[in-house]
Symmetry: D2
């Protein structure tokens, strides 16, 4: 049952009670001041902010630690394409029970670009509720908050926090990139403004393929890492040389500023370079393949950390082969894989094409070896 | 004064009374059915649809004719970045009085990607009201409605119509383009679904630079032109060979289907190829430069149509040189030009950089020759 | 019969006697000094330069005037892929008799990247000889001379001149573009160095698709136009706004420097924007479609120049439709069209694929309307 | 002293005596038959082939084993830009003495695109001679042989072999890529034709940045790996997920075909992902940074292989930081680094810009930490 139709209050109930008592660090800009009034665009934040900021329960801290994170897929009902919150909840719990470290809503796999503000909040709130009710209230949720304008990005960060998110994953804006100031000055300003105003810490998302080719260099990432409210980076560019530079310099940053400052978390964006990223100093993955094979992804990394390198390499090979199917198929192929192997998944929102029976069979076969491994763990 | 804060009803008043009595052509999909209930995401459509569909006044038809259309810039208040509806209204009336054929809200120049759903409606409604109150109630408004999902695109079309828009300008979705079905099958399905459900006719927007390089061929455009609710194309790709093919074949289409079917309108997306597009069979322009120099853009085309080709060529050269400044400066440069030459304009929403005084001087100079021409007309 | 095998002297005979008595304008660099000794890499230039520089007949001037130029295709013998000089000669004469203004060897259509230095000279020399022997000794030949290094580009210019070429068409280097100095400084230096040393004047070739996206702006082109040995530009970018700016400014250049300095020639790179480029101030085309339909290309432009605009527009539409086939098919499709309609053409050098019988039929049909028009002229 | 001027015979002496007695495997095509006659374009192959094929000394086999390979830079004399064979020889011996496994001439770092056929042979021959005369006659040389046409690629392979090369590194052709047959059919045919005709085994070079974005998938690479004369791949795409897939499947290939068939060698194209590629199953690197710091590159890998992972990671971080300078500076920056730290290097051939003294100082500093490490080994 999807209560996201024109009735704010039922959905609103999902978002209350998760995160309270926010004292924004850094300066509050006029934009932030404006935001605290609430944006009529999001009934959820409207209903929330008018009642909760003053009567705030304590804020549960969920640290961002090394491990396997999953950018969860989003599920829709057949026909209407409305959010299928039952499946969203089921999927989150399945992944939590498999042992993942955290979940990320509204990543690329989560069809963020197909969701409205309130739908995004409903997904995150549904996920938070399902985790809490299954004994995983300590599990952090990362929320995709990137947007083309600084104000809307900050808006997504607030809404994500209200809905139960702990961290915001932020792509750089790119639509007007040719007009940006040189030497990434505009990009730095953007991330600083967002980090200054966001109630939840920021994870930089470097994914050139999603932003017209814009590739943040290790220099830019490390400059941003100095901000106290920017706590990590997800590298989907596959460049483990850059990952090596970022991880090395980030480690030194922590000694430089504050001994208790947690390490800047460096996550690899795909399962097919898991152990490669670990040997390069990375802290884990935030990878779509874990929607299908969370245990295999986790175990590959565990074996490596335990020093069982040969075993981890053997498992990495199966994971990389399965990831090739996931990379080629994207949302379409992974949903087909989920549907055929786990009995749920459905399809992506239009205009994403629906696989034909033959195509669905191909996607299924492409994941066979990986799923057999997953089932054995 | 910007009434877009958390109070739906005041802004809602702008949108009532413009377009009524919609009988959707083609099939109504479940998505459309869902939409008629209203999306809580847009209080404006909420408040509107619950009252208006049944008690519907007549729908004023504003035909889409050849001429000069302007993708209007959007204006924001200093500091808050809130919509500056006074300037939005003033600008619309200035352009109407200059003699343009129509306006387009939420184009690339209109910073569509920086606006929320309700802000978009406020811009369109403010524009409609200003035109009506200045004696331009016959002037059509085109509304930018492109989105990554079919359902949100349809949503924008409905909201645009409710706010007073007459036509929807639609970019193809591109985020998941690598997963789309080959031979543009997915793109065709997308445009058909939108055209089936939209209360206002669709203009295809071909702008590869804004959609990760996706370039709709003349074949695709002509196939889409066969749909009765797809009535034109804006070509920002600058390819007057393609424009020639599209204009030629579109002309034959009208004889094929229905003698009274208005010609499929082919608009050039930049003022620097105005007369080039006319000699190739185009019907005018939808170009950002007209925000600064509407009369020069109009006169260039008028002279050509009157057979005064040499005079039109002379004027085209001044327009092309001014357009070079506009192309390089984009929203940033054109706003600086407006501000320095016409006394209003402000700056774009963050993250767009603010020009330094030196940069602002450069933009001003880059438009000098064009503005001198404009003032002489 | 293709005498390009291991015997330099027979081929060498084709290149003697065409262009003599070169006094290089500007400074002779050490590179040029080195070049005058001859590069063992090209037996043709070896054999030529050791005998001819001192005993130099007069240099026949062939002015570069507005009109239709053809970047000729290169023809190969079946099986061996050796140069088919008989067909190369036949094709050149057919085009000359159709009334074209000039030919260009080693353009993109001419598979320049598939030819060795000596093969390039053989193509140009064969073309020169065929034209001379058919009464077209006044017809200029443009030679494609672009390369990644300045010295090899200068080498190609010399070799082109020795083989009978009158002008050099030069793409900017692009392989190490990321390392080039900003503000196109490196590109400007490159073109200046080449223009200083080349015995034949330079035509700039702007074709971003062939050079990793590098697009020379109107500013750069106009700066280069000030060099006395840079006499024109071919714009294959299809941007008639840029063409308009370049043509306008180039016209003013001539009054600025020297009243007798011929106009900087601005050529459109595709037949589908012929009249569009003319109304924008262009001087004609250098277009691959003219390999198939030279008369149609010429007549389209002639009608426009005679003021018969409606007739030129009608013909332009047929030309643009045929050009769409040529654009899609490139070397492969155009050769298939030539073969099926004119009885010669063959295929491109490997790795270019050979069309299957079905594909060949498609290419044939795609040119039908255009060829019917051509035959009627 | 650079004997590449118009006198073929002195240079020819360098190429005799290295590789003889070639029995081409697979079919000899007409193209190969034609090539055995020799191409007048290359006096070196002319002079060689006319005398050597029949009176052929034995062919020394130099196996391609895991390790550190260096794509050597090419050196030019100040002013003339002629090849500086003294420095070329000196540099090769310095790298050999540092302990590298092999050298590669005419890689991207070797300014292949700036060299003529005979210059390429001179570089390879000079390198071979210097290695032989310093006690490194067993060290294999890989020669860059990619070209746009199949015939010229085969030509480069023959010339490389004649000049003393043992393996050919081949980029896929890309100029006419839009015309190639789908599913990489054209690419597969190209590599098969080259592998059939080349006297030296082929290493596939996957470097999308150099070939207009063409990225060979693991599927294509593995299909090509089945050819007995295709023996490895250099991955400069940085994608260690793909490297993992290729290395895993290639290992299985050897058991499939022939137990004595040497492993398909998988080399990483940059030093900043050395140990990452090893843990993923790679066999070493072919990386430009080793021109400056061969011992650091070697030692990083040695420590990892000895199980001293933490030490290898520490060294990898210094190497990655130095590689960042090399990546940004390319040929220009690395030559500046060589010049300032090792006293030789010069500059690249025009149009590559010469660094200003300030820029040269920046490049020097960018390599300081790495060079200090290098000197300590």
């Amino acid at each position: 049952m999807s209560p996201h139709n024109d009735a704010p209050s039922p959905t609103g109930s999902f978002t209350t009670g998760f995160n309270r008592s926010f004292r924004p660090s850094g300066s509050e800009t006029l934009m932030t001041g404006h935001l605290s009034v609430g944006e009529p665009h999001s009934p959820l934040s409207c209903s929330y902010s008018s009642t909760s900021l003053d009567s705030a329960p304590f804020h549960m801290a969920r640290p961002l630690v090394p491990g396997v994170y999953v950018p969860t897929m989003c599920f829709f009902e057949e026909g209407t394409e409305d959010l299928d919150t039952v499946t969203i909840a089921h999927h989150a719990v399945r992944l939590a029970r498999a042992g993942v470290t955290g979940l990320a809503t509204q990543g690329s796999n989560g069809e963020a670009v197909h969701l409205t503000h309130s739908e995004r909040q409903l997904v995150t709130a549904t996920t938070r509720k399902a985790l809490n009710e299954s004994g995983f209230s300590h599990m952090p949720i990362i929320v995709g908050c990137g947007s083309q304008s600084t104000r809307e990005t900050i808006q997504y960060c607030r809404e994500g926090w209200e809905a139960g998110g702990d961290y915001a994953l932020v792509l750089p804006p790119s639509y007007y990139a040719p007009l940006f100031a040189p030497s990434s000055e505009t990009i730095i300003e953007f991330f600083h403004a967002v980090a200054d105003a966001s109630p939840i810490p920021i994870i930089i998302y470097n994914y050139p393929g999603a932003v017209n080719g814009m590739d943040l260099s290790s220099d830019i990432i490390l400059q941003l890492a100095e901000h106290s409210n920017i706590v990590g980076v997800k590298l989907t560019c596959g460049n483990t040389g850059k990952l090596n530079r970022v991880a090395a310099a980030a480690r030194k940053l922590s000694k430089k500023h504050d001994p208790d400052h947690p390490e800047f978390l460096v996550l690899a964006g795909s399962a097919d370079f898991s152990i490669q990223s670990l040997v390069a100093g990375g802290h884990g993955i935030l990878a779509g393949l874990a929607n299908i094979a969370p245990k295999a992804c986790i175990q590959t990394i565990e074996l490596y950390k335990q020093g069982k390198v040969a075993e981890s390499q053997t498992m990495q090979e199966v994971v990389s082969q399965g990831d090739w199917t996931a990379i080629q198929g994207g949302v379409v192929g992974v949903k087909a894989g989920l549907q055929s192997w786990m009995g749920y998944g459905g399809v992506g929102r239009s205009p994403l094409p629906r696989p034909s029976p033959d195509q669905a069979r191909e996607w299924k076969e492409g994941f066979r070896e990986l799923v057999m491994l997953e089932k054995s763990l």
